[in-house]
């Protein structure tokens, strides 16, 4: 079975929306999560047509620039900051950006 058809057939659940909101660090209320679930399902319904397109052997990177990437010289200068981070940072102390302490600082999923 075409994996596209499989996923497209599955409707987004409120739990999916909560999971995705967690990944995106967006706090959403239950009410909002329900509304967003409806929105996402309505939008994704239109994406179902993609599953019906035969893309066997089609390169998904071909849409990007051909010829490869131009590189930077090791000594090429940096874009200079017109103001120090202190000018735009919400909170700094002794040159450090300050954020609330992580509940567990090994917790890489923060």
């Amino acid at each position: 079975m075409d994996p596209g058809a499989k996923a497209a057939a599955a409707a987004v659940t409120v739990d999916d929306v909560r999971h995705v909101a967690m990944l995106a660090r967006l706090g959403v209320s239950d009410e909002r999560a329900r509304a967003l679930t409806r929105d996402l399902n309505a939008i994704l319904e239109h994406m179902a047509v993609l599953a019906r397109v035969d893309t066997t052997g089609i390169d998904e990177t071909a849409a990007k620039a051909d010829g490869g990437m131009r590189l930077r010289d090791e000594s090429a200068p940096c874009v200079q900051l017109a103001s120090k981070p202190e000018a735009f940072a919400p909170e700094m102390r002794h040159g450090f950006f300050i954020v609330p302490r992580l509940s567990s600082h090994e917790d890489v999923s923060a």
């Binding site: 590189l71 090429a76 950006f97 954020v99």
Partner: protein
């Protein structure tokens, strides 16, 4: 510690290595360490709105060099991807890394595992050779630093390191003991040092190791459930952590339990591992090709040329040093342990001419001095030219061997040329019979009993008496002439 012989340890390693570039992977900020926080930063590595990454050519060159040295196939097309997760020291909310199209694949590393902790001055008793396959080498950018104890109650973020180029070297689970893992890491470090792609210092964080370890019953094909062990800050720490984690897994299995997939953190101070609190299941990095970076294309010819221009690999150097200087296996191993030491030895040997003497001095006096003073060979106060001069003075008899060692001691402290020291300290060899006789008289006077016994025919006391006279001369007396004068004195 040897937890039951019925289990076998299976280890695969992921090694992150900081590349030795002047500027960062995707911007022109300096990579230097120790600068005030958030001073080597720009719109790109701060992740400011609208800033775009542009890849550093030199980082690619170093990564390719490392991959070729590890016998990898460097890919003509590789792709940078975004690894998406939130962390305050990850400015863009994603790390630029390589995912399903890495820079290089299918390498291998030949390792020699020795039974005891390596000691530079003593040959090992037993060694075993094996091959570890390297799955892939890919490029990525480093994150910044989170300091959790800089200020109470908050985390402090320094982004100077954010964007420093790294390579990640991933091995297959081909190692079967902590000693093998240690041998793999030491060999890898040596190769990367020879390639001059990194400072490869675990202590300074330019080389970081994560280990995947599992236990399985001997004779079984299937791999056991692995855990990932992190937070080691030395090679011996990796070895100890593997032993401890393996023992823990064996104990779980012996008790009929199941090893859980998790990340374990090594605590060097307690010698324990403990589970990290992060829940692995919640990781979903949503990798996708970075649309800001077109595919990296390296043409065949360029890759071939890089291979041709690869610096001398450790094995080639060992073979060459052995051939040119006619030294034994063990001496060659010690002298080529690092490219800097090998350069040093070759510098001394070439300028002095007698490779055997150069090898003895470097392996003996030089390594001892480095140990004692904490200097590195690259910045050692005694330059190869000066050591060669000293060896010349000893060989042509201008100074005695004993005085030579004394002069070397002064050279380590002052860095002065040996001839100057010899003159200043009165250590030029004295062959003038009058002076020699005076020292001999003093030595005999100080050791009347030995002198008497020597006179009575106890010839083996010659050494004691000559030694005493040498001491009187502060090492400058010509010991051969002294012996003649002693013999003359007692008519023997």
């Amino acid at each position: 510690m040897s937890p039951g012989h019925e289990y076998e340890m299976v280890v695969g390693l992921e090694v992150h290595v900081q590349l030795k570039t002047e500027t960062k992977a995707f911007c022109g900020c300096r990579t230097s360490f120790g600068d005030p926080p958030n001073t080597n930063v720009c719109p790109v590595c701060l992740g400011l709105p609208g800033a775009l990454p542009v890849l550093n050519t030199h980082a690619v060159d170093l990564a390719v060099r490392a991959a070729l040295a590890l016998g990898c196939d460097v890919q003509e097309v590789s792709i940078f991807a975004r690894k998406n997760y939130f962390y305050p020291d990850l400015p863009k909310g994603y790390q630029i890394s390589q995912y399903d199209r890495p820079l290089a694949t299918s390498g291998k590393l030949e390792i020699v595992t020795r039974d005891a902790t390596p000691d530079a001055r003593r040959p090992p008793k037993h060694e075993a050779r094996s091959t570890v396959r390297i799955t892939r080498v890919h490029m990525e950018e480093d994150a910044g630093k989170s300091l959790h104890d800089r200020f109470p109650g908050v985390t402090a973020i320094d982004l100077n390191r954010a964007g420093v180029p790294l390579i990640e070297i991933v091995s297959e689970p081909d190692m079967r003991s902590a000693a093998e893992a240690g041998a793999y890491l030491r060999t890898l470090k040596q190769i990367l040092e020879y390639m001059a792609v990194s400072d490869v210092s675990m202590e300074e964080g330019s080389l970081r190791v994560d280990a995947n370890v599992s236990a399985r019953r001997r004779g079984e094909e299937r791999l056991g459930q692995k855990t990932e062990v992190k937070n080691m800050n030395s090679f011996s720490g990796v070895e100890r952590a593997l032993e401890v984690e393996f023992a823990r897994q064996c104990a779980v299995l012996d008790a009929g339990g199941v090893v859980e997939q998790q990340t374990m953190l090594w605590d060097a101070s307690t010698g324990q591992v403990r589970p990290a609190r992060a829940k692995e299941a919640s990781h979903d990095y949503r990798y996708f090709p970075d649309p800001d970076l077109p595919p990296l294309r390296l043409d065949r010819a360029h890759i071939k040329e890089s291979l041709a221009q690869l610096p001398e690999l450790p094995r080639a150097r060992r073979e060459r040093v052995q051939r040119v200087y006619q030294l034994g296996d063990y001496e060659v191993d010690v002298l080529t342990a690092s490219p800097a030491l090998a350069d040093y030895f070759e510098g001394v040997a070439r300028q002095h001419g007698d490779a055997k003497a150069a090898a003895n001095w470097v392996m003996g006096e030089v390594l001892a001095a480095l140990n004692a003073t904490g200097q590195t060979i690259a910045h050692f106060s005694v330059r190869p030219r000066d050591l060669a001069d000293l060896l010349n003075l000893v060989r042509d008899g201008t100074v005695t061997h004993t005085a030579g060692k004394q002069i070397f001691g002064v050279m380590v402290k002052t860095g002065d040329p040996p001839a100057d020291i010899a003159k200043r300290e009165g250590l030029l060899k004295v062959s003038d019979d009058a002076a020699l006789r005076r020292w001999l008289d003093e030595a005999l006077a100080d050791n009347p009993r030995e002198a008497e016994r020597y006179a009575a025919g106890e010839k083996k006391l010659q050494g004691v008496l000559i030694g005493a006279a040498m001491k009187k001369s502060k090492g400058s007396a010509d010991p051969r002439r002294l012996a003649q004068l002693l013999a003359e004195r007692f008519g023997t």
